[in-house]
Symmetry: C2
DNA sequence: ATATGTTCTGGTCATGATGACTTTTACTGA
DNA sequence: TCAGTAAAAGTCATCATGACCAGAACATAT
């Protein structure tokens, strides 16, 4: 759209196309010190929904692919590099924006804790607990809810949890990821049995020292880190 | 796009937005008389990919929702009314179309056999076996493959199979749906045991007469028929 | 040095789901 | 009346899971 148009004209045009991303990271909770789900939001500086928090997003540039657009937007707004990126859904309801119709192709991403820790908050970028969001701009509450549903499903049947972890980790750390995502405690012994049966994690001969208990063995994830069931192979 | 533009200008504009649909139906195979997966395609009458077969699709009208656009398109091109409709994926690669960049939001649909039987073929609409497609226009082979993957997954963990069946059916008919979709035979006794344990199918007191064997009981599906895990509730 | 608290690690047991298979029932058609 | 066929019900071994128990290996306090 190189020419300007008023609101009623915009209503008749082809809908605007935008890319947004729901970004999840695990950060230690202030009280319990256990990891919990957080996500960064950006403050809207323009109408509509000025001063409300919204998902990072923007238009699709003509020469970039959809995931590239999501990645660039993530870099521009939050300086974050995701360890996992997957398309979530295309939202195209008629009343998503009061001004002009917008079709948003939404991605969801996971970032590792060390990367998330580097991204400092600014006036217009802030991290929120996934279960303590206020009212967001547009239909973004609905989008985040759907992304949470997808994350919780996917963590149970795929090896996505390791996108939250570093190269080496203890089985208890994996369990904490599951517990944070699913919101419930898991039996350590049974959880351990399942992970030992999985083929995509292998034991190293290193142990994590420093705890006031028996030092746990460190493991390594050997599987693929990309969304393997997508249409791209 | 109300004004015309040449190819190089189009390349720089905001990408075109289109809606397409992959439609599945079960039709009896000519040889084995067992149901197999078929899908209707439309012949392209214009460049690019003129005379190749493609998924039914078209632009998004300003005042219709995404699923409404898919439904209308399905009606316009194939006169089919789906018993199930769900968003598949948004395809936005740079080289999907040689002329202008197109972002396609693709839906997938299921139609019941009686509805599919009514839709007659024309010069530009023809049904193809899902496993015997030739080369399609654009990236539509890739899209169909992904839709098949989704269908096969979803049939195993959801109650989607009943979108292929009428109001009353025998357990063997349900099994034939699973066998056609998954492409493998299933043990009748074990399959029956699973369906009897499911809560969303109830037995009627009717039996299907006419076979040269013990008449099977008819059942009814009592669950929901809409995609229940979508972002819309 | 010893005790204590913690988590890691390995194990048992009952239960439920699954796959392979057998048997009986109820129909049609020769 | 018999043969053929699929429906319907049941058996058995195997496997995954949840609940639970016990010893091992550390740090810390006494």
């Amino acid at each position: 759209m190189v020419y300007s148009a008023n609101v009623s004209e915009r209503r008749q045009q082809s809908p605007e196309l935008a890319i947004s991303t729901v970004i999840f990271a695990l950060r230690p909770d202030a009280d319990s010190a256990r990891p919990t789900l957080w996500l960064p939001l950006v403050r809207r500086t323009r109408q509509p929904y000025r001063d409300l928090w919204a998902l990072p997003g923007g238009p699709l540039s003509p020469e970039e692919s959809l995931p590239d657009a999501a990645r660039r937007n993530l870099q521009d707004t939050t300086s974050l590099q995701p360890s996992y990126l997957e398309q979530l859904y295309a939202f195209g309801g008629l009343d998503r924006s009061p001004v002009q119709r917008v079709v948003s192709i939404v991605y969801w991403a996971l970032v590792k804790p060390d990367v998330a820790a580097l991204a400092q908050e600014t006036e217009n970028v802030r991290w929120f607990r996934a279960d303590h969001l206020g009212q967001l701009a547009f239909d973004h509450n609905q989008i985040v809810d759907y992304a949470l549903w997808r994350l919780r499903n996917k963590v149970e049947y795929s090896s996505i949890a390791y996108a939250f972890l570093g190269e080496k980790f203890t089985l208890a750390q994996v369990r904490e990821v599951y517990e944070a995502v699913l919101g419930k405690e898991l039996d350590p012994a049974n959880f351990r049995r399942q992970l030992r049966a999985a083929t995509d994690i292998e034991a190293t001969d290193e142990y994590l020292q420093g705890g006031r208990h028996r030092p746990p063995r460190l493991y390594r994830y050997t599987g693929s880190t990309s969304p393997g069931n997508g249409p791209l192979g």
